[in-house]
Each structure stands twice: as structure tokens, then as C-alpha cells.
């Protein structure tokens, strides 16, 4: 009796925990869309890196480079993956909540540019980042209407 109780009680607790994390569709779609912004930001950085390394100008060269230039290719693949994540998020979440959260991409891109391209930080950027993060926080916390 006591053995089964000590065995079963943590298990049911775990099940409750997993349920609250995974089955809560609203939270899952929020996490998915945040993941989406991370992937999107990485894709933008790769595409910028790839685009600056293309030797020839022109539309045809750009299309060829999408398949021959590794950073560009990976970047566009990540965009595709991004779309899949977004669709999965939209399935369970509200458009009016998820769409503005995509603005987080700007935040990640700013940080990544700071780190990789050594673009300088300034007053406007830091205020903008703070505002976006606060806004996303409010949308993420807000109770379902």
C-alpha cells in the first residue's frame, strides 16, 4: 500500500505537470511563436551574411545563390521551418495575440547584429527592445478572453 502510494503520487504529479505544460494549448502556441521568432532572426542573419557574399548582382544570380550559397540556403530553409512552426502555433492560438509577438524577431536580430556584425547599440534601440519585450510579456500573461 505504502509502496504503491509513494510510487504513484509522484507519477500523478508529473502527469499533472506535463499536462499543464503541454496540454495548455494557449501556452504551447505562445512558446511556438517565440521559437518562431528565434528561427526567423537566425534566418535573417544568415541571409544577410549570404547576400553580402554574392559576387554578381541581378535576379538570376540571386536565385542561383539561394541554392549554391550555404548561408543563404540554410537561411531560406529556416524560413520554411518558420512557416511550419507559425502554422502549428496559429492552429491553437489567437491571431490577435500571436501576430504582434513576431515583433520579437526585431529584438533577436538587434542582439545578433550587435554580436555578429558589431552594429552599435543606441538609446532608441534599447528603449524599443524594452517596449517590445514588455508588450510581449503582457500578451503572454493575459488571460484568455
Amino acid at each position: 500500500m505504502s509502496a504503491s502510494a509513494t510510487f504513484s503520487s509522484p507519477t500523478s504529479e508529473n502527469v499533472g505537470l506535463i499536462r499543464s505544460l503541454v496540454v495548455d494549448k494557449r501556452r504551447r502556441s505562445f512558446v511556438l511563436v517565440v521559437l518562431c521568432t528565434l528561427v526567423g532572426a537566425a534566418a535573417q542573419i544568415l541571409i544577410k551574411q549570404g547576400a553580402t557574399s554574392i559576387a554578381q548582382p541581378g535576379f538570376v544570380a540571386a536565385v542561383v545563390a539561394m541554392f549554391t550559397n550555404l548561408p543563404l540556403f540554410i537561411g531560406y530553409c529556416m524560413y520554411g521551418f518558420n512557416a511550419v512552426l507559425m502554422i502549428l502555433a496559429l492552429r491553437d492560438g489567437e491571431l490577435s495575440m500571436l501576430y504582434p509577438i513576431i515583433a520579437l524577431t526585431y529584438v533577436w536580430v538587434t542582439f545578433l547584429s550587435l554580436w555578429i556584425f558589431h552594429e552599435p547599440m543606441n538609446f532608441f534601440k534599447s528603449i524599443g527592445i524594452t517596449l517590445i519585450i514588455c508588450g510581449v510579456g503582457i500578451l503572454g500573461r493575459g488571460k484568455k478572453a
Partner: protein
């Protein structure tokens, strides 16, 4: 400037189609192929980014980037009209902060 406003409009339409398609999502190949709303959504998104790049090439970056925030206003409209999503005070507050953030962030570029 018109190009960028148009791009934000088309982009948000694309997102609305993605949402409509996602509501009808089924995980098998024929159903995914027949889900024209998803295809339309992705297509509109690609077209919108093309217009956006065209607009950026012709205009002043610091004015055009904040116009992208218009997309959030369109998306809010579609959410109410087509999906009947309720607007709460928290949503409006989050919206306002994010739009302000995007505008201010792009002033710093």
C-alpha cells in the same frame, strides 16, 4: 511609401489565410495539398516581402520601417472580423507597447 503600406496589408492578409488554413489543419498529404488557404497564406507572404523590399529600395528607411507596424492594425481587424477574437485591455496594452517598440527601435537604425 505606398508599396510598404501595401506590403504590410498583403502580409497581414497572408497571416489571416495561414490562420484560416491552420484551423482546418489535418496531418496527411492529400489534405495538406488541398488546403488552399495555407498555400494562399504562404504565397501572399512571399509577395508582401517582395513589395516590401521594392519599397525599401526606393524610400527613406527610417520612415518606411515604422509603417510595417501598420500590419499589426490590419491583423487586429482580421482577427475581429473573421475569427471573432475578443479584444481585452491586456491585448490593447500589449499591442500599443509592441507598436511603440517597433517604431522606436527602427528610429535607432
Amino acid at each position: 511609401m505606398l508599396l510598404v503600406i501595401f506590403a504590410s496589408f498583403i502580409g497581414s492578409c497572408g497571416m489571416a489565410f495561414l490562420k484560416a488554413g491552420a484551423n482546418r489543419l489535418a496531418f496527411n498529404v492529400p489534405a495538406l495539398v488541398r488546403n488552399w488557404r495555407l498555400t494562399a497564406g504562404v504565397g501572399l507572404y512571399v509577395i508582401s516581402s517582395a513589395f516590401f523590399v521594392m519599397g525599401l529600395k526606393r524610400g527613406e528607411l527610417s520612415i518606411l520601417y515604422p509603417l510595417v507596424s501598420l500590419g499589426y492594425i490590419w491583423a487586429l481587424l482580421w482577427s475581429r472580423i473573421f475569427f471573432g477574437e475578443l479584444m481585452t485591455k491586456a491585448k490593447y496594452a500589449g499591442f500599443a507597447l509592441i507598436i511603440a517598440g517597433v517604431v522606436v527601435l527602427n528610429l535607432g537604425r
